[in-house]
């Protein structure tokens, strides 16, 4: 799988080594965090539901690596990777998953709504498709304010069949809004294969021409390819040339959510994709490019230590203050609706 938009640049870009190591670190941190989050779910500490991003780390890391610190990320309920990739600390995320008062949103949001405005993580949206028009609005705002910011909006393959996808793409194209739409095509909506319910083979890319956009398909398990596509799409947006629609082909290692073992997927398919795990692939390339094993082992170990430290903090975190039940409905901090 390669980028089809590519016209002039080499297929494998010359990404600086420190940027590659940073993206590798992001992927390892995401994987380590998600694997521990899953265990903590089975332990009963993570409540409700979780939608893990295992296997899809290269999309988050490649795009985050290409973003400016003040750019906006909009993502879905499968948003742990994207939130971590923007540099949001693990401890408040884990405390949020535990429903604790020191969670990222004070325990009011949970796994599906991770948000850290200070990091440009403008929200994880749990209604399929909702955040695409919202990302267009943020991009329109950046355009109006001439801030040079770009909004990057991640969503799943299932989103391409809901109305707001099409409304957002059209409006963004008409307004030349600085937004990059990123479809993480992991082949399954929830439990149903996207191909079984979609009129075209490539659910995002095959719709691009309807909005005057080029079809862009990238190997979503190749972090360097993702980075290159991200850099071009973000540059294009920042230069005032309007939106892009990127389809990143990837695979989630687990089921849709914590309740789903993913039995509807053929074993051979799962095994083939596990063999294409983005993290060992990039690790091998870094080694081949001369990075010392000790350097990578150090990154791996640091990720484990960071997750363990975050877990220790989250385990000790207090329950939410009951008084917080009625705070932050309104900008005055309260919830009063009458005098």
């Amino acid at each position: 799988m390669t980028t089809t938009r590519d016209r002039t640049s080499p297929q494998v870009p010359d990404v600086p080594l420190d940027a590659r190591l940073a993206m590798y670190r992001t992927m390892v941190e995401c994987r380590t965090f998600e694997e521990r989050a899953q265990q903590l779910f089975f332990e009963g500490l993570v409540r409700g539901t979780t939608h893990l991003g295992n296997g899809q780390e290269a999309v988050a890391a490649g795009f985050a690596g290409a973003m400016r610190s003040d750019d906006y990320t909009f993502c879905t309920y499968r948003g742990h990777n994207h939130t971590l990739a923007r540099g949001v600390p693990m401890a408040p995320i884990l405390a949020e998953l535990f429903g604790r008062g020191t969670g990222l949103m004070g325990g009011k949001g949970g796994s599906m709504h991770l948000t850290s405005v200070a990091h440009g993580a403008m929200g994880s949206y749990a209604i399929v498709g909702a955040h695409l028009p919202i990302a267009v609005g943020a991009a329109w705002s950046a355009q109006y304010r001439k801030s040079g910011q770009v909004a990057v909006c991640f969503f799943g393959d299932g989103t391409t069949n809901i109305g707001s996808f099409h409304e957002a793409l059209n409006l963004a194209a008409v307004w030349k809004a600085p937004v990059v739409f990123v479809c993480e095509n992991n082949h399954y909506m929830e439990y149903t294969a996207i191909g079984d319910v979609t009129a075209v083979a490539r659910p995002a890319a095959d719709r691009a021409s309807a909005y005057g956009l080029e079809p862009i398909v990238v190997d979503g398990n190749d972090v360097r390819a993702v980075y290159e596509v991200a850099r071009r799409a973000i540059d294009r947006a920042r230069d005032g040339d309007g939106p892009s629609l990127v389809e990143a082909i990837t695979y989630r290692h687990g089921g849709h959510s914590r309740a789903d073992p993913g039995k509807y997927r053929p074993d051979a398919e799962v095994q083939a994709w596990l063999a294409r795990d983005p993290i060992p692939a990039e690790r091998a390339r870094l080694l081949a490019d001369g990075v010392a094993e000790a350097t990578l082992a150090g990154i791996d170990a640091a990720a484990g230590a960071a997750v363990a430290a975050a877990e220790a903090i989250a385990r000790e975190a207090p329950e939410p203050d009951p008084a917080s039940l009625t705070t932050q409905v309104w900008a005055d901090g309260g919830s009063s609706w009458r005098n």
Binding site: H113, I127, P133, W330
Partner: protein, 328 residues
């Protein structure tokens, strides 16, 4: 004092706020070049330019979503939904996204936005272009709800809604667009969450909203002339925040309460008002609280049926007269 129509007051309010605050922007279907299908936004494009006053495609989810995204990143956007019935098309954006995001993010996200819409019946548009949807919004925590009855209040309350740091659903009654009224000279801003006593009285309290306010006032004049009855009429103006103090003070004075609601019967705002009066004003009451509403049916387009459905001056005055007679 200048005289404006209700529709002119809409553009006047937006212009007033755009003049003072460059972060105010405005989008919607046919709002810019055409000046709005109800001609409520004429002249804004010419005055403020296409960067700030923009036409959109017929994409209600995109309109409302874009307004939200702009509001969370530093602008004070106004979005128009041509008919309030179209809220249903964008209800995810309104009820799930806009209303809940401040709470779910524990205050990280502020949404200083206004969604304006042409609300209400009486124009023979049929069931999908005539609804009073203010109760839909009132039922969702996180939305402020405003529904003015006069040009001066359109100006003052829309200005306040634009300045408000929270999301405001602003219901303009399409049956009132042609009505005229005096508006104050200079900058005009009315606080949200304050009802207005539009007619002082001592015998009964009549609580109304939007197009039901002039009808309640006319009914009150009839009752005065024909029965010597002194009706106090309250224009609620806002459902959220709700000025319960004004309601309870009036009940204390009159001991009788009638609501006049354009909405279908079930879960109308008057049910909440009745509940509050029952909770907090019960010992002031001399008789049951009476709700005068549209029956629980969709609005028909035929004039005779629509007029039969919506509370009329006759139905308001007859109901008040009959219920008072029963109590005697």
């Amino acid at each position: 004092m200048a005289e404006l129509t209700y529709r002119q007051a809409v553009a006047a309010a937006i212009a007033q706020e755009m003049e003072r605050d460059p972060s105010v922007v405005f989008i919607g279907e046919d709002v810019a070049a055409a000046g709005g299908v109800f001609k409520t936004t004429e002249g804004l494009l010419a005055r403020f330019g296409p960067e700030r006053v923009r036409d959109t495609p017929i994409s209600e989810q995109a309109i409302v979503g874009a307004v939200m995204g702009a509001a969370m990143t530093g602008l004070r956007p106004i979005g128009e939904l041509m008919f309030s019935d179209f809220f249903a098309v964008a209800w995810d954006m309104i009820a799930n996204q806009i209303a809940k995001t401040r709470y779910m993010t524990d205050g990280q996200v502020s949404l200083p936005l206004v969604l304006r819409t042409a609300n209400g019946g009486g124009l023979r548009f049929g069931a999908q272009h005539s609804q009073s949807v203010e109760n839909w919004a009132m039922a969702i925590p996180g939305l402020k709800v405003v529904a003015p009855s006069t040009p001066a209040d359109v100006l003052g309350l829309l200005a306040a809604a634009i300045r408000d740091p929270d999301p405001v659903i602003f219901c303009e009654h399409k049956g009132l667009f042609a009505t005229k009224g005096e508006v104050p000279d200079g900058e005009h801003v009315e606080p949200l969450g304050t009802a207005r006593i539009v007619r002082e009285g001592t015998d009964v309290t009549v609580i109304a909203l939007a197009a039901m306010v002039p009808r309640a006032l006319e009914a009150a004049e009839r009752l005065q002339a024909e029965d010597g009855l002194s009706a106090e009429v309250i224009d609620l103006r806002c459902l959220v925040p709700l000025d319960t103090a004004a309601i309870l003070a009036s009940v204390k004075k009159t001991s009788r309460v009638f609501t006049v609601e354009e909405n279908p019967r079930l879960c109308g705002w008057g049910a909440e008002v009745a509940s509050i009066v029952a909770d907090d004003g019960f010992y002031s009451l001399d008789a049951p609280i009476v709700r005068i509403t549209t029956p629980h049916v969709p609005l028909a387009s035929a004039a005779v049926l629509e007029d039969l459905a919506m509370p009329s001056v006759e139905r308001i005055s007859d109901t008040i007269r009959r219920r008072l007679d029963e109590a005697r």
